[in-house]
């Protein structure tokens, strides 16, 4: 039972980070009809720009790293939006998929050319500290990661459900033409949404780097695929469904690690994907049609 609760908590932490990346994917896909394959690499850039900020600013701690992460990821996200996504909007989904995949390859290998292909140690932005909560043992880093992701997801949810522009994102997701004809500047809303998704990814990336204590140019590969799986499994109609599936995936992986074998962990997501798509091709909670 203790192992179960422990793995449940570990899974929740990892799941919350998947959720932030997956929600970024989902926002880009539902609002812009773009599969932003470079999104996980925007996350990766955020991880490194946060690291750089913490290293070059004297006495720079966690706060500086977070700002650096947010600035770096938002900047790269804005460049991708301006140069790749906006010019291709309205084209076939495959066109932007291939274009952003190209960007992804450039970012990964560009970063690998700078820092090398192997993971490098991440600055220790938080002390090694443990907290016992009943039978569960959590590190300060885990708690910070979970807390930050929870805040980011709540803000994203507030943006989509509670704000004027957020309402427009839902309107665009369901009927882009009608939204435009009712006064929504679709390009502007798409741009803002893209930036926000990138900012979120950068912030979460700093927490993830701190959590694992290492950063790699290729961190986006597996992260991105898993987040992408979360979006496909949930379907893109309900934003909250993507979060729920991401948390569930994190927990499932932790349980497999705890009870079966850690080498099977990364396969879980893809087993789930195949199973769900076989039974419900629109995802568990339904999708907007394109």
């Amino acid at each position: 039972m203790d192992l179960f609760l422990q793995q449940l908590s570990n899974g929740l932490v990892i799941g919350s980070t998947y959720a932030v990346v997956a929600v970024g994917f989902a926002l880009a896909f539902t609002v812009l009809r773009v599969i932003q394959f470079a999104h996980p690499d925007v996350f990766m850039i955020g991880m490194f720009s946060g690291m750089m900020a913490a290293c070059i600013v004297p006495g720079g701690g966690l706060a500086v790293a977070l700002i650096g992460g947010a600035v770096g990821s938002t900047a790269i996200g804005a460049v991708i939006e301006r140069m790749v996504v906006a010019p291709l909007r309205g084209r076939d989904v495959l066109t932007t998929l291939i274009a952003t995949l190209g960007v992804s390859i450039i970012l990964q290998n560009g970063m690998a050319a700078i820092i090398g292909p192997d993971p490098i140690p991440y600055p220790r932005l938080l002390p090694t500290q443990f907290y016992e909560i009943g039978p569960v043992l959590l590190t300060l880093r885990q708690m910070f990661c979970l807390g930050l992701c929870a805040v980011l997801l709540s803000l994203a949810s507030f943006y989509v459900r509670g704000t004027h522009i957020g309402r427009a994102t839902r309107a665009i997701a369901e009927r882009p033409d009608v939204a435009a004809a009712f006064g929504v500047d679709v390009s502007r809303v798409c741009r803002i949404t893209f930036w926000l998704a990138s900012t979120m990814a950068g912030l979460a990336a700093v927490a993830v780097g701190t959590l694992y204590g290492s950063a790699s140019a290729f961190v986006g590969l597996l992260y991105g695929l898993k987040a992408f799986v979360c979006m496909l499994v949930a379907g893109n109609r309900y934003f909250e469904a993507v979060i729920a599936v991401a948390l569930a995936l994190g927990i499932l992986e932790a349980l497999v690690t705890g009870y079966v074998s850690s080498s099977l962990r990364d396969a879980v997501a893809f087993f789930v994907l195949i199973g769900v798509l076989y039974l419900r091709p629109d995802g568990l909670f339904g999708s907007y049609t394109t």
Partner: protein
């Protein structure tokens, strides 16, 4: 007085298939004008082109004498005071009735003004007031059409484009929709309607165009068009 909307030599095609082939038409301020045409005559294409959602190959569209609509994007066209009741309603089905109406006045910065306009709509359509927190997709066809019309009116437009408002509705509701179009028009809002239901729409319209295969083949006052042999054969023959 110059026309509110003036279309000259409009040609629109989908790929190499022409949908609208050299159409010229106008609508005066305060007028209710109907474009009659069968399926595939190009009616919806004209409406979508006015709204800026389709780009024509040739032609000009001017609003209020001075605005060249072809240079504007859809949200800018809406801002000039042109509102759209799309074919098949096209509500945001996953949003509430209230949110649908709010989206109708998306660019109006004054929250109080928007709420006042929505309040007026709820007064005019009490059924919608009852259902304001229901998802638009859960309403009946007639109720959805009311939402579509109310959504277009929230922004206080000068020109209302109605694309086959009678499509898919029960006959008794169809009559209500045409009465409503007339009522809106009497408030001073110009209405350009495209329809297949010639009998009902000609009763409320001032004047009409007959569209065939992307060209205007007849134009004139509604009563005159209703008397044309071609119209009677195509649209009025025997059906109620």
């Amino acid at each position: 007085m110059s026309a509110l909307l003036h279309i000259e030599g409009l040609a629109v095609s989908y790929g190499s298939v022409p949908a609208v082939d050299g159409v010229s038409l106008e609508i005066e301020p305060g007028e209710l004008r109907v474009i009659l045409g069968a399926n595939g005559a190009g009616k919806t294409t004209i409406i979508k082109t006015i709204m800026g959602l389709l780009k024509p190959q040739r032609g000009t569209i001017r609003f209020d004498g001075e605005h060249d609509l072809l240079r504007l994007r859809p949200h800018q066209i809406h801002r000039l005071g042109i509102a759209w009741v799309p074919e098949g309603r096209q509500l945001w089905n996953t949003m509430t009735v209230l949110d649908n109406l709010r989206m109708g006045a998306f660019e109006v910065p004054d929250e109080n003004a928007v709420n006042r306009r929505i309040g007026e709509m709820f007064e005019r359509f009490p059924r919608l007031a009852e259902r304001r927190h229901q998802l638009a997709g859960s309403l009946s066809g007639g109720e959805q059409q009311m939402v579509a019309i109310a959504r277009a009116l929230v922004s206080s437009p000068r020109l209302l484009l109605m694309d086959e408002p009678s499509l898919g509705l029960a006959p008794i509701v169809v009559r209500d929709v045409f009465m409503l179009a007339q009522e809106i028009n009497r408030l001073g809002i110009a209405v350009l309607m495209v329809e297949q239901n010639a009998r009902q729409s000609l009763k409320v319209a001032h004047s009409a165009y007959l569209l065939e295969l992307g060209r205007v083949v007849e134009a004139g006052p509604a009563a005159e068009i209703a008397g044309k042999k071609s119209v009677q054969e195509v649209f009025l023959g025997g059906t109620a």
